[in-house]
C-alpha cells in the first residue's frame, strides 16, 4: 500500500514524557517531517500525553480531524496501551486501530548521549508504524466463561491464607500440598519476630479451619502433575500419593506410630531426630492421618512386621493402596510453593556438615520448639552438655556473589530472635552475633533490635565472619575481622548457628514448567508480571503467585501477598467471564498445506490440523492463542499470520525502515 495516495486518515501523537523523551529527541523536527505525508490528518505533540489534559486533547483532535486510525509515539504498551485504547474507544474508534510506538524505553533512554541519531531512529520507528497501521483492521474481543473454582498449590501460610480468602468469598478451592500435612515452614518455627508470639499458636487455628471449610477440598501428600487450558478454564491433574492409611477410617489415635519398630531421619525436625516409618510430621498436623514411608517400612522393604495393620483398632491400614490421579477444573491458579534453606554445606568456610555443633537457623527453631527433638532444651549435639557460648553468623550464602547475590530479608531478625531464644532458655549464656549490618526496616523491627542488643550477654560483632574452625575438643572457633578495633578476632564457642540464605523450594521449577512461566530469578524464584505494579500476577493470565515463591519474605509480607493474590482470583471468578486479546493467528486455508509445523511449535497447543474438504489444514483455537507468532515464523508457505501484524504489514515496516 502506498501512503502517498492513501484514502485513510491517520492521527499521530507524540509524547515528550517531560524530558524523558523530549530531552533527547527533537520532536518538532519529527512533526515537521511527518506532516508532509498525505495520509496524515493531524500530527501533534504533548508534554504528558497520559495526563487527563493529554487524553482529552487527543480525543478532540481525533474527532475534529475525522482520523480513522491513530499512532501514538510514547512509552511501553505494557503500562500505557489500555489507557490509549480507551481514548480511541471514547473518540468513537475501534481500540485496535491504535499503534503504540515505544520511543522512550527503545530509543530516548538507551540513546541519551547521541541525540541526532536518536531523533533519526525515532522518526524511522514512527514512519514504520504509520506504514503498518494503514492495514490495521478493527478487531473484537471474545468473551469466554470462567469456571468458578481455584487451585492453590502449596499449603504453607501463603497457600492457607489465599485458600481461606477465596473460599470465604464463596468459591471452591482445591488446596494441594506435597507433604503429609499443611503448615509449611511456619509450622517449624518456634516463635515469630518481632512480637515473639508462638508460631503454631497463630498458624494452628487457620490450619484447622482449612481442614473443615465447606468450600475447601484439601489434597495433602499430593502433587500437581499436569495443567492444561487457559485462564478461566484450566484442567488440572493431581496425583494423590498412597498413604497406606484409609482417610475415611482412621480416627487419629496414633497407636500405629507407637507400635512401629522402624526408625528413620525426621525431615520435619531438620534431621535432628528420628521418626517412625509410619508417622505424622508433628503433633498439630492437619490432617491428623499418618503416612507410611515405604523407604523405611519393614513390610515394604522386607515383607515382614505389619504391626500397624494388626494393632489398628479401625482397620485403617491398607497396604494395597495405589496412587490415584484426580482431575479438576478451575478458573484460576495460585502458586504458593514457598522456600527452603540454601544448602549451606557449599559455603565451605563455615564448615556446616564438617564439624558437629553447627546448626542452621531452622534447626535452631526445632531445638527451641516445645515439640522439637529436645522438647525445647538447647543442646550442642557433639558436646553432651548445654552450650554456654553460642555464635550466630548472618548472611550465610546470602549477599555473596559465589552463592546467592540477594538478601534473605529474614536472617537479621531471625538472628536477634535466636539470641532471645538462647537468653530465654539459658540466661547465663553468652551470644555473639556476627553481622556486618543489621537490617531492621520492618514494622517493630528496630524496636526489637534495640530490645535484644540491650540484653546483657548478647554481643553484636559488626563484621562478616571469615571462617568457622573445629577444635578437637568439640568446640568451634569463629574468626572475623572486627572493624571496631581494626584487628582480627577469634572467639571460641560451643555452638554455631548459621542463618542460611533462602531459595525457592525444590518443586518450584517443575511447577514453572507445568505452567510455562518462562525464566526464573536467581535463587529459583518465580518472576512476577511487574515488580511494582503487578507483584502477584505472572506472565500467564489467571496464574498468580504469593509468598516466598516470588522472593524471600517474612510472614506479614507473605500473608499480605496471599490476600492480594486471593482478591485477584476473586475478582476474576466473580466477574464470571474473561475477554481474550484478539491478536490471534489467522490461517489462509488456500495456502496451507497442512504440514503441521505450526502446531508442533505452538507452546499453547492452540493449533490443530483438521480435514476440510479432503484437505488437511491448520485451525487456530482463538481462546488458547496468545498471538506469540511462533507459528508465523515456522510456516514454509506464508499461510499463517497474526491479526494486525500481518506479513504485508511487517514487509511495509521493513521497507520503510530500510528506505
Amino acid at each position: 500500500m502506498n501512503i502517498l495516495d492513501s484514502s485513510t486518515k491517520t492521527a499521530v501523537f507524540i509524547c515528550h514524557c517531560g524530558t524523558n523523551i523530549g530531552g533527547v529527541i527533537d520532536i518538532s523536527k519529527i512533526i515537521e517531517n511527518i506532516k508532509n505525508i498525505p495520509s496524515i490528518a493531524v500530527a501533534q505533540d504533548h508534554r504528558f500525553l497520559c495526563s487527563t489534559d493529554g487524553i482529552e486533547t487527543m480525543i478532540n483532535s481525533i474527532k475534529t480531524s475525522n482520523a480513522d486510525r491513530v499512532v501514538v509515539a510514547a512509552c511501553s504498551f505494557r503500562t500505557h496501551e489500555p489507557l490509549f485504547q480507551e481514548a480511541l474507544h471514547r473518540a468513537g474508534l475501534n481500540p485496535y486501530l491504535l499503534e503504540l510506538v515505544n520511543i522512550r524505553e527503545l530509543c530516548s533512554w538507551v540513546h541519551e548521549n547521541e541525540r541526532d541519531r536518536a531523533t533519526e531512529k525515532a522518526l524511522k520507528m514512527i514512519r514504520a508504524a504509520i506504514m503498518k497501521i494503514q492495514d490495521n483492521q478493527p478487531l473484537k474481543r471474545i468473551r469466554l466463561p470462567v469456571t468458578p473454582a481455584a487451585l492453590v498449590i502449596g499449603g504453607g501460610i501463603a497457600g492457607i491464607r489465599a485458600a481461606l480468602d477465596i473460599a470465604e468469598a464463596g468459591f471452591t478451592v482445591y488446596l494441594v500440598e506435597k507433604e503429609p500435612s499443611i503448615g509449611g515452614n511456619m509450622a517449624k518455627l518456634d516463635k515469630t519476630f518481632p512480637t515473639l508470639d508462638c508460631s503454631i499458636c497463630i498458624l494452628g487455628p487457620l490450619m484447622n479451619i482449612v481442614a473443615h471449610h465447606p468450600n475447601i477440598k484439601l489434597y495433602t501428600y499430593s502433587e500437581v502433575i499436569s495443567i492444561n487450558g487457559r485462564v478461566g478454564d484450566f484442567s488440572v491433574k493431581i496425583l494423590k500419593k498412597p498413604r497406606y492409611v484409609r482417610e475415611d477410617l482412621c480416627r487419629g489415635c496414633l497407636i500405629c506410630i507407637a507400635k512401629c519398630p522402624s526408625k528413620t531421619v525426621d525431615e520435619f525436625n531438620m534431621g535432628l531426630s528420628h521418626r517412625k516409618a509410619i508417622y505424622v510430621p508433628f503433633p498439630q498436623a492437619v490432617p491428623r492421618i499418618p503416612v507410611i514411608d515405604t523407604a523405611s517400612c519393614l513390610y515394604f522393604q522386607k515383607g515382614i512386621c505389619r504391626a500397624c495393620e494388626k494393632l489398628c483398632p479401625a482397620n485403617a491400614i491398607d497396604f494395597n493402596q495405589k496412587e490415584e490421579v484426580v482431575e479438576i477444573k478451575v478458573g484460576a491458579i495460585v502458586v504458593a510453593t514457598g522456600f527452603e534453606e540454601y544448602n549451606i554445606s557449599q559455603v565451605y568456610e563455615y564448615s556446616y556438615g564438617r564439624y558437629p555443633n553447627i546448626v542452621t537457623g531452622l534447626q535452631l527453631e526445632r531445638l527451641a520448639s516445645s515439640y522439637g527433638p529436645t522438647e525445647g532444651r538447647l543442646i550442642a549435639p557433639g558436646l553432651n552438655r548445654e552450650p554456654r557460648r553460642i555464635a550466630i553468623i548472618n548472611c550465610v550464602g546470602s549477599r555473596d556473589e559465589r552463592h546467592l547475590p540477594y538478601c534473605c530479608r529474614v536472617g537479621c531478625m531471625a538472628s536477634l530472635k535466636h539470641s532471645w531464644y538462647i537468653k530465654h532458655l539459658m540466661p547465663e549464656a553468652e551470644v555473639f552475633i556476627f553481622a556486618d549490618e543489621v537490617r531492621a526496616s520492618g514494622k517493630g523491627f528496630e524496636e526489637f533490635y534495640r530490645r535484644v542488643r540491650l540484653i546483657p550477654g548478647v554481643y553484636i560483632v559488626k563484621s562478616k565472619a571469615s571462617e568457622v574452625r573445629g577444635n578437637p575438643d568439640g568446640t568451634l572457633t569463629i574468626k572475623a575481622f572486627d572493624p571496631a578495633i581494626s584487628s582480627e578476632i577469634a572467639i571460641t564457642v560451643d555452638l554455631v548457628v548459621l542463618e542460611a540464605g533462602i531459595v525457592a523450594s525444590r518443586g518450584t521449577e517443575s511447577i514453572k514448567n507445568l505452567l510455562k512461566l518462562g525464566a526464573l530469578n536467581s535463587g529459583g524464584f518465580l518472576i512476577e508480571l511487574h515488580p511494582k505494579l503487578n507483584p502477584v500476577e505472572t506472565a500467564v493470565d489467571g496464574v498468580y503467585i504469593c509468598g516466598a515463591v516470588s522472593g524471600p519474605k517474612d510472614i506479614p509480607d507473605t500473608v499480605a501477598q496471599a490476600s492480594a493474590a486471593a482478591s485477584k482470583v476473586i475478582s476474576l471468578l466473580s466477574r464470571g467471564y474473561i475477554e481474550t486479546q484478539p491478536y490471534s493467528a489467522i490461517v489462509d486455508e488456500s495456502r496451507c498445506s497442512g504440514c503441521g509445523v505450526c502446531s508442533s511449535v505452538c507452546e499453547y497447543s492452540a493449533i490443530k490440523i483438521v480435514k476440510k474438504k479432503e484437505r488437511s489444514v491448520a485451525v487456530v483455537d482463538e481462546a488458547l492463542c496468545k498471538g506469540c507468532g511462533a507459528c508465523v515464523g515456522s510456516c514454509p508457505s506464508r499461510a499463517i499470520e497474526i491479526a494486525n501484524l500481518k506479513l504485508n504489514q511487517i514487509d511495509a515496516m521493513v521497507a520503510e525502515i530500510l528506505r
Binding site: Y348, E467, R469, G470, N471, P472, T477
Partner: protein
Amino acid sequence: MRLAVFTGCFTLVKQIAVEASMLKVIQYFNIEPITPQKTNCCGFAFRSIAPNTSLYLTARILAYLNTFESEGILTLCNGCYLMLKETIYRLKENQRLLEIIRKHLKDEGIDIKSIPRIIHPIELFHDIIGIETLKNIANKKQYNISIATHYGCHALRPSTLPSFDNPLNPHKMENIAEALGFKTKDYPERLDCCGAVLLASKPELAMKLAYSKIAGTARWGFQLLITTCPYCFEMLDSRQEAVMQMFGEEPKLPVMLLAQLIGLQLGLNEKDLALNFNLSPIDRVLPQILKR
C-alpha cells in the same frame, strides 16, 4: 610422554629433594623429563612490586621452553606454577601487553609460538598418571597412618584463575593419599599458609604462621603431613625445629614430599628420594611405611 620440568630457583638452592625425588619417581611412570639448563627466575619475587617485569620473566621461560618438544611444563614449585599459569591468563586477556612482550623477546631471538599446558605435581599424579595406576602400586595394602595434606596457597589461589581443583575445598591430594592406602581427614588448618612469603619482609610473622600451621595440624593426631611445594617444605620440614623452639615446643609433625611418599611405595631407596635431607621427625613414621 615428554615433560619439560621447570625446577625454579628455590628447589635448586635450598630443597634439592624436591627435584631429586620427582625425577626419580616420574621415570617409573614412563615420563621422560626434559631439564632445560638456561631458564631464568619465574619472576614471582617481583609479582607485587613490578608486575610487568615478572610477566616478562615468565613469558621468557615460556618462549625458551617452546624450543623443546614436550607435552607440557611440570612446575615443581607452587610460586612458579602460579606465575606461569597467571602469565598465560593475563597475556591471553591483554593482547597489547602480549605484543609488547613478544617484541622484547624477539630482540633476544625467541618467541612465544604456542601456549603449553602448565602441570602441577598434584595434577600430574591425579590426572595424568591417574588414581588407578596409584592404586595398583599400593596393591590394596592399607596403612594405619593418617595423613594431613597441604596444597600450599599458590597451587589453588587466587580462585579467580582457572585451577586444577576446587580452591575452597580441594580433594585431589586426598584422593592420591587414599589411593596409596593411607587415611586422610579434613582439618581446619588444611588451607592455611605456611608463612614462606613473609620470610624476607616479616620473618617473625612467617615463623608464627608456620607454628600455627604445624601445631594446629599436629593436635588432630596426624602421623604425617605431605606437600609438593619447596617453600612449604622449607617452612614445615626444614625449619620445623626452629619454628617450634621459638614457641618452646619440640618438633612433632613428620613432613614428606608427595613424590617421596610415592617413591617409597615404588620401592625406591631412601637416598634416591633424598629422604636423608628431611629434617622433621620422619623416623617416627618411616618404619611403618617401609613395613610392606
